[in-house]
Amino acid sequence: MNFEVISPKTTPELLNAIYDNQTENFRIGAGFTDLINQFKTQETEGLILINLTQLKDDNFKLIIENKTNFQIGALTTASEIIDNKSIKENFPVLYQAASKLASTQIRNVATVGGNICNVSPSGDMTAALIALKATCHIIDCDGNERKELLSSFIRGLKKTSLTKKEIIKNITIPKNAGQNLKSGFEKVGSRKSMEISIVSLAYHLQLTNDGIITHAGVACGAVAPTIPFTTSACEFLIEKNINTISENDKEEFAIKVLEYANPISDIRASDWYRKEVLFNVSKTIFGK
C-alpha cells in the first residue's frame, strides 16, 4: 500500500479536501475495516485517502436526541451505538444489528456512515436503519445540504446517490409514536461470530397498549442487490394484533416479504436456501 493521506480536523478542512481533489482519485475512510482490506488487494499508487478519524465535529460524531428524531453522526461507531441507552431502549433493532456485527475489535472502529457507504446488501446496521426509515443528511463541498431517505439513497449494488462532491454528515431516525415495540434484528449465518449475513431481517413494529400494530418497518438483508424496505409486507401488518395474529397472516406476511427477495447463490448460501430462510425467519418475528 502506498497512498497519500489527508486528515482534516474540522468540517471546513474536510470540505476543502474534497473540493481540492475533485480531479484526483480519492477515497474517504473512517473505520477502515472494509477500506484497508480493499486497498491491500488493489493498486493504491497515486490514491489520495481522506481520513476522517481525526475529524472533530459533533455533527459527525454524536448521537443527539432532537424534538422529533434521533440524530446519529456518520462517524458513530458500532460500539457507541451499543453503549447508547436511548438507542437500546427506542430502537432495539439497531442495537441488536450493531451487537451482531463482526467482533468487538471491528465494532470499536467501524462506523455507521461506513456501513451505509460500503453499500453491502449484508450491511447489518444499514438494514436496521432502513427498517427505521432513517434519513441521510448530506453535505457537499460547495456548501449545499440535502436529505434523502436511506432506502432511496442506496441505488443498487455498490451504488448510492452520493456524488464525488458529497459526504454523509449524519443520519436521523424518526422518534417512536409510543413505548410499545416489537423490534429486533435476526441474523442468520453459519456461525455466530464474525459472520457476514446469509439472510438478515430487521423489523421495528410499533404497537398500541393492546398490541395493535400502528407502524411497521421491515427490511431484509443479503437477499437482493440492495436492502429492500418491504412496503407491502409492512402495510399488511397495520391494524393486525400482534398477540392474536393468525398462522395464515404470519405466512401471508412472510410471502409478502419474500416478494422483495432476489438472492444470488454464492459461497455463503444458494438462492433457494436464502429464500427458505427468509420465509421462515419472517414468520417468527411475532413471537410464540
Binding site: V5, S7, T33, T53, T104, N108
Partner: protein
C-alpha cells in the same frame, strides 16, 4: 508524516509513511514482536492491541491515527514488580495457552473488556465473556480453557 503518541506508557515521536499500518509500526519500526500478524484482514484478532482503552485490530488501523492517542501492546502489561498482568496469570492458571500465537491478542481483548466491565461495575456472564472474544481465533481449538481464563478474571 510525524506522529506523537504514547506506547506502553512512553511518549514517542516518530516519522512514518502515511499509509503505514499500526501493526507494521509496532512490529517493524518499534520492534515489539508480541503483537502477532495472523490473517491480516481483521478476522483472527491475533494483532489486537488497545488504543485509548478499546481493543482494535492493528492490521486494519492506520498508524497515523494513533497520533495523540495511547497504545498498549502485550509488552506494556507487565513491569518489574508485576511481570504478568492478572489476565496473563489467569491464562497460565487455566492452561489456556497452547501454541501461543493467538495468546497476546486474546489477552489484550480480555484486558480491554475486563477494564470496561470493572469501570462499569459489571460481572459478565460466561456468554458475555464468550461474546467479548468473538473476534479472536485459536487454531489449537483451546477455546474452553481460554474462556475459563477470561471468566476467572472476575472471580475473587
Amino acid at each position: 508524516m510525524i506522529i506523537t503518541f504514547k506506547i506502553n506508557g512512553e511518549i514517542k515521536t516518530q516519522e512514518i509513511k502515511s499509509s503505514l499500518l499500526l501493526i507494521d509500526l509496532i512490529r517493524d519500526v518499534l520492534r515489539l514482536k508480541g503483537t502477532k500478524p495472523g490473517c491480516l484482514e481483521g478476522e483472527c484478532g491475533a494483532c489486537s492491541v488497545i488504543v485509548n482503552g478499546a481493543a482494535i485490530n492493528s492490521c486494519m488501523y492506520l498508524a497515523i491515527n494513533v497520533d495523540g492517542k495511547e497504545v498498549t501492546t502485550i509488552e506494556g502489561l507487565g513491569n518489574n514488580e508485576n511481570p504478568l498482568h492478572q489476565v496473563q496469570e489467569k491464562m497460565l492458571e487455566n492452561g489456556a495457552v497452547q501454541c501461543g500465537f493467538c495468546t497476546s491478542g486474546m489477552v489484550m481483548t480480555t484486558k480491554a473488556y475486563s477494564d470496561k466491565c470493572i469501570a462499569e461495575g459489571i460481572t459478565p456472564t460466561r456468554e458475555e465473556v464468550k461474546k467479548s472474544l468473538e473476534g479472536n481465533l485459536c487454531r489449537c481449538t483451546g477455546y474452553a480453557k481460554i474462556i475459563d481464563a477470561a471468566e476467572a478474571v472476575y472471580k475473587k
